[in-house]
């Protein structure tokens, strides 16, 4: 069975050798189970490439959750006002206002705590270097310095690669470490606007963190809202941060 599945996958990827291809096509014609297995795997491939559907479904789900929580809040408030528990509600209000006052009056401290909690420089790629990339010596050098936390020298090499996406992404991290936030924002925005690369989610995340570091609260909220409603790996953490920020 394992071999059959491997052949089906190779067939769908267009990599099945000729000697196995005819056998599989015959099997597909004559064996309904094999045919269904091929159709299933083919459809799964299509489904997991359909990021639009996944994104829309998530947005709808978030929208509903938002609506339900607003709705519940309104109803709870109405009930409280109507009931003889008004005194208890007033007490709660004092607690909430007190809490808000505490949060607002401690804002810089909270932001700093948030950054400490969530910011970590990205791990360098190419941790295993058994693959030979002659053309990327500069990148290798850059990562050598990056691993040693020597961000000034790492930057020299990353910047020598100009618009190479990996280099731009890691240069952003170097700029954060050197507290050159506007340069870091520039680097991450380049990566995000490129869209078609592996670092977009991470760049979005770091951009949000830079806004936090820089006390740009409204930008940070917008950025983390964007992440929280996406299918990003960081969506849950963004929700957590938003709880603190709002």
């Amino acid at each position: 069975m394992e071999k059959l599945y491997q052949n089906i996958e190779d067939y769908l990827d267009g990599n099945l050798p000729d000697e196995n291809l005819n056998d599989l096509i015959n099997l597909k014609k004559n064996n309904d189970l094999v045919n269904r297995e091929i159709q299933l795997r083919k459809e799964v491939n299509l489904a997991i490439q359909d990021s639009g559907m996944m994104d829309l479904r998530e947005k709808l789900e978030m929208q509903h959750k938002r609506h339900v929580s607003n709705y519940s809040f309104i109803h709870i408030s109405r009930d409280l006002v109507k009931s003889w528990h008004l005194a208890a509600a007033s007490f709660s209000l004092i607690l909430v206002v007190g809490g808000l006052w505490y949060i607002l009056s401690n804002k810089p401290y909270s932001t700093e705590k948030l950054v400490t909690k969530y910011y970590k420089p990205a791990h360098p790629i190419l941790q295993v270097r058994s693959v030979d990339f002659n053309s990327d010596d500069a990148l290798k050098e850059a990562f050598n310095y990056y691993r040693q936390n020597d961000y000034i020298n790492a930057l020299k090499y990353f910047n020598s690669l100009e618009n190479q996406i990996t280099a731009r992404f890691y240069s952003g991290i170097c700029y954060i470490e050197l507290e050159k936030f506007s340069k870091a924002i520039e680097a991450f925005e380049y990566v995000i606007n490129d869209k078609d690369n592996l670092f977009v989610e991470q760049a979005d995340w770091y951009l949000g963190l830079i806004y936090l570091m820089n006390n740009q609260k409204s930008n940070a909220i917008t950025q983390f809202e964007k992440i929280s409603t996406s299918k990003s790996y960081y969506a849950k953490q963004a929700v957590d941060i938003l709880k603190y920020l709002k």
Binding site: I48, L126, K231
Partner: protein, 189 residues
């Protein structure tokens, strides 16, 4: 509330624009909810039917297969109505006279076949999203026809052969988890 024309709504849906999605929800969901509630459905049913309808309309827009001959409201209501009829039939609760809460038009069968396909896609995508981050990325990059060597480079993996092995493991894990889901039997029967 800002108003939008039908064309703006369709374009906004094509782009999955949050402002348009919120507008549709705020303006039309209540009517759908009333309809479902009046016809043996719950709040949760209303949510599911509404979301399924939006996904179907989105698919039709993407396929350039939607020309509105009525208002967007009537179209959305009609899709929800059809989906709820199908659901009632499944639950053996079909009623001859539905309590209506809006105007509707007759829709052709492609709505139901898109809905069935969306249901299958949802199952596959749910399990895909449960895979590890690396597995998801390997499969995405592999299906985007990125060279194995490039994937190895991007993900910091040992070699292109290792990528191929990981891709195989990730895909088999995904297929096994889909097949083990009780929804899989329901959908394929």
């Amino acid at each position: 509330m800002q108003e939008f024309k039908a064309e703006e709504i369709l374009e906004g849906l094509r782009n999955r624009n949050t402002e348009i999605l919120d507008f549709i929800y705020d303006k039309y969901f209540y009517q759908i909810k009333v309809f479902i509630n009046q016809n043996n459905g719950t709040e949760e049913d209303a949510k599911d039917i509404y979301q399924d309808a939006i996904l179907i309309i989105y698919q039709k827009i993407r396929q350039n297969n939607l020309t509105l001959k009525c208002s967007f409201n009537t179209y959305l209501y009609s899709v929800c109505r059809l989906l709820w009829l199908k659901q009632l039939e499944k639950r053996k609760l079909k009623q001859v006279f539905l309590e209506e809460s809006g105007k509707f038009i007759d829709l052709n069968e492609d709505i139901l076949s898109i809905d069935e396909r969306n249901e299958r896609y949802k199952l596959y995508q749910d399990h895909f999203q449960k895979l590890s981050y690396n597995c998801q990325k390997i499969l995405e990059l592999f299906l985007a026809r990125i060279q194995l060597k490039e994937i190895a480079y991007l993900l910091g993996l040992k070699s292109d052969l290792y990528v191929k092995k990981r891709k195989h493991q990730c895909k088999e894990k995904l297929i096994a988890s889909i097949k083990n889901d009780p929804r899989f039997k329901e959908i394929t029967n």
